[in-house]
């Protein structure tokens, strides 16, 4: 199967990023959209850790910061979902159209 290089990790990370982007752009359920954002953040983390194999420890530190941001984003996002469901009784993003004209 050959040696695993950084390029293998980058291609896997690009694949995960693409899957996450498709999820964000095509799904209606806002919970699934948040999960797709987590997929995107994980793809970025894989990139950072793969490059830290080449350039030293900085990438791993940044991966930890990205995980912190993901936790904060998930907490606020899920709070917004709860408030949203309480007002509109739905979790579909295309039914939130108060700002549309």
């Amino acid at each position: 199967m050959g040696e695993i290089s950084t390029l293998h990790y980058l291609v896997l990370s690009a694949a995960l990023f693409m899957i996450g982007t498709v999820g964000v752009l095509t799904r209606r359920n806002v919970i699934i959209i948040l999960m797709s954002i987590e997929l995107i953040l994980n793809a970025v983390n894989l990139n950072l850790v793969a490059f830290s194999r080449l350039y030293g420890l900085h990438g791993q530190i940044f991966a930890i910061f990205v995980i912190t941001d993901a936790a904060a984003e998930a907490a606020v996002g899920l709070g917004i979902i709860i408030a949203f469901f309480r007002n509109k009784e739905t979790v579909n993003v295309d039914e939130v159209d108060l700002l549309r004209w």
Binding site: I4, L16, I19, T26, H58, Q60, I61, T90
Partner: protein
């Protein structure tokens, strides 16, 4: 000494990650999507171990698979999704979205193929036995200010989540 992490492990974990990531965005029931996302996160933790990053792998399992996914499952439980499961799950712009994502992936592959030569040929020395110690020294040394800003961000996120989820402010 031959390395333990062989190519087979990489392809196995990559296959698991991609298949369960596709399951995340295609499942109708959000609980199934959340469980698939846990499989993706665990395979990524295995890949971090293969990249000599045991601390990041442990943080991935404890914080992502343990903390954030429990948060997701709790919200799925709190929000009543019974009629949502019976609805159509894809929005009107799905074709455009898939086209845009595929072109973005093509662009990324093009950049990787063209720019691969500028990567350094030698690997950095990462002694995995002292990885956690090194990460601690970096976090409290060079990255002191970003670390403090991250803690402030978490405080703001806690307050924001409580305010959002409260019935009346």
């Amino acid at each position: 000494m031959t390395p333990v992490a062989t190519a087979f492990f990489f392809y196995f974990l990559a296959f698991m990650a991609v298949v369960s990531a596709i399951a995340v965005i295609t499942r109708r029931n959000p609980v199934h999507a959340a469980l698939s996302l846990i499989v993706t996160l665990l395979s990524l933790a295995g890949l971090y171990l293969m990249l000599y990053a045991p601390f990041v792998a442990a943080v991935q399992i404890v914080l992502y698979a343990g903390g954030i996914m429990v948060l997701f499952l709790f919200v799925i439980m709190l929000v009543n999704l019974e009629q949502n499961i019976r609805e159509y799950q894809w929005n009107k712009q799905w074709l455009l979205g898939i086209l845009l994502a595929v072109s973005l992936g093509g662009l990324l592959l093009f950049v990787f193929q063209r720019g691969y030569d500028i990567f350094p040929k030698t690997l950095a020395g990462l002694p995995e036995g002292q990885n956690t110690q090194q990460v601690g020294i970096w976090l409290y040394g060079n990255y002191m200010l970003p670390f403090e800003i991250a803690s402030l961000l978490l405080l703001v996120a806690i307050v924001g989540a409580v305010v959002m989820a409260k019935k009346r402010i």
